[in-house]
């Protein structure tokens, strides 16, 4: 099932998504940051751009990922704008990669969000180093991946449901499926 490209988000959608991101940041910094295994912790914030791309397509994934990343950057000591860059790439990538797939499988968001988290973490380290902070590559990326990957798999479905509530996809239309058999 292919969704038409979404229009701009309305006030209600922006308000719902802002509330969702604010709650997720509170959960991340008050609870998940303290769940430490080998010095690393689960990262729920990378799942939001992936979920927005999955639910609303690449364009919405990129926009929502950028805004989510900026919100994350406000509370992190690392370079401002880096999470925004990674967020928009992850949102766009997830949307583009899953756009043509059948959405009936429950495991599709689990697999795609987990892959997005791995790509996002590696991209964060590499882009950070390329854009002027070589210390990013000295971080323990292996531990971060080992902890964040299973956590992403566990949190994928709740995050997908929450993002679909906050920014619901546009209903399917006939023009959005020009190659369909019943046109």
């Amino acid at each position: 099932m292919r969704h038409p490209p979404p229009g701009p988000m309305g006030v209600a959608e922006v308000a719902r998504y802002s509330l969702l991101v604010f709650s997720a940041l509170a959960l991340q910094h008050s609870l998940l940051d303290f769940v430490r295994i080998s010095g690393a912790h689960p990262d729920v914030m990378l799942l939001f751009p992936a979920a927005a791309g999955y639910v609303g397509g690449p364009e919405r994934g990129a926009t929502v990922g950028f805004c989510t990343g900026l919100a994350v950057d406000l509370l992190l000591p690392t370079t401002f704008g880096l999470s925004a860059l990674v967020g928009c790439l992850v949102g766009f990538g997830t949307g583009a990669a899953t756009a043509g797939l059948v959405r009936s499988s429950w495991w599709l968001p689990v697999v795609s969000f987990t892959a997005a988290t791995v790509t996002g973490l590696v991209g964060y380290a590499v882009l950070g180093a390329v854009l002027g902070d070589p210390a990013m590559l000295r971080a323990d990326l292996a531990s971060a991946l080992v902890v964040a990957t299973p956590a992403a798999a566990v949190l994928a479905l709740p995050v997908r449901v929450a993002v679909a509530w906050a920014v619901p996809p546009a209903p399917p239309s006939a023009t959005a499926n020009p190659g369909g058999a019943f046109r």
Binding site: P77, T78, A84, A135
Partner: protein, 287 residues
């Protein structure tokens, strides 16, 4: 006509991602160059001020549950740890008393030798402190930092050293009204001037990332060192920290005939993974 509209629609996501990437790179560049540090810093401070009460409320609601579960699971180990800590506290109290006597002897010797300049050297114990609690540990996996519950309202400022337990924890890098961020010594961006040996030698200690040993640089090959030797802050002119704060213990050292410096590794004297309470020293580096 329909084809033109369709082509325009298929180009739109690419245009959007292009613009967003450009916007991100612009923000990153401004942050690195420092052109927008004032504006970005103010934004971050406002965000922290808004977010801190929420974080504290969630923390207050969630932490007792976590502590209860952890306590139930580790009850036996905690009892043992308590007994060990009581014994260590006794030893430290004895040392403190002995140190007080040493300080009195030193003062009288300084007076006898007319070493009035020695009194001007900063004594760490004499620096005013602000007690703080760690409220967030390493918010990013890519930077070794902690957040404390004290900020500008308590007189904390950027650049102030933070000590906890037996020694140096790090330095305040960002501060808002009710909290601050501290870069800890293991962060890959951290560098501390240290003093070792007798007679004193000076070296630079750099972080290598969370959980990794510290690298001590600029020690000549063949220098007499000992495993377990404590490195303290150098306190040289324009140093970022006052002198004499223990930072790390040497864990290994080696050199080859062709090496230009000793390869020295060290471990922080503070258990950084279990930080809970620290002191911010109200001391600022000389401008």
């Amino acid at each position: 006509m329909a084809r033109t509209r369709r082509a325009r629609r298929s180009r739109r996501p690419r245009l959007t991602i292009g613009l967003l990437i450009l916007a991100s790179i612009t923000v990153i560049t401004l942050d690195y160059r420092g052109d927008a540090h004032g504006a970005i810093g103010s934004l971050k401070r406002v965000a922290h001020d808004v977010f801190s009460p929420v974080q504290s409320a969630v923390d207050a609601a969630v932490r007792p549950i976590g502590s209860f579960l952890a306590g139930a699971v580790h009850a036996g180990a905690l009892e043992q740890q308590n007994a060990k800590l009581r014994a260590e506290l006794g030893v430290e109290q004895r040392r403190l008393l002995a140190r007080g006597a040493d300080a009195a002897t030193l003062r009288s010797l300084q007076a006898l030798e007319h070493l009035s300049w020695a009194a001007a050297v900063t004594q760490v114990d004499a620096i005013p402190k602000v007690a703080a609690q760690v409220v967030a540990l390493n918010p990013s996996d890519f930077a070794a930092t902690v957040q404390l519950d004290v900020g500008r309202a308590e007189g904390v400022d950027v650049g102030m050293p933070v000590v906890g337990g037996a020694g140096l924890v790090g330095q305040v890098i960002d501060v808002w009204s009710s909290g601050c961020t501290v870069r800890i010594v293991t962060d890959a961006r951290s560098a501390v001037g240290v003093r070792y040996g007798n007679p004193a030698g000076y070296a630079l200690m750099q972080g290598s990332g969370i959980g990794d040993p510290l690298a001590v640089q600029y020690i000549q090959p063949g220098t007499a060192l000992g495993v377990g030797e404590v490195l303290t802050t150098s306190g040289l002119q324009n140093a970022l920290f006052p002198p004499g704060i223990p930072v790390a213990r040497i864990t290994s050292f080696s050199s080859t005939p062709s090496s230009t410096q000793e390869a020295v590794s060290a471990q922080p004297v503070v258990d950084l993974a279990a930080l809970q309470y620290v002191d911010v020293l109200q001391w600022e580096p000389a401008p």
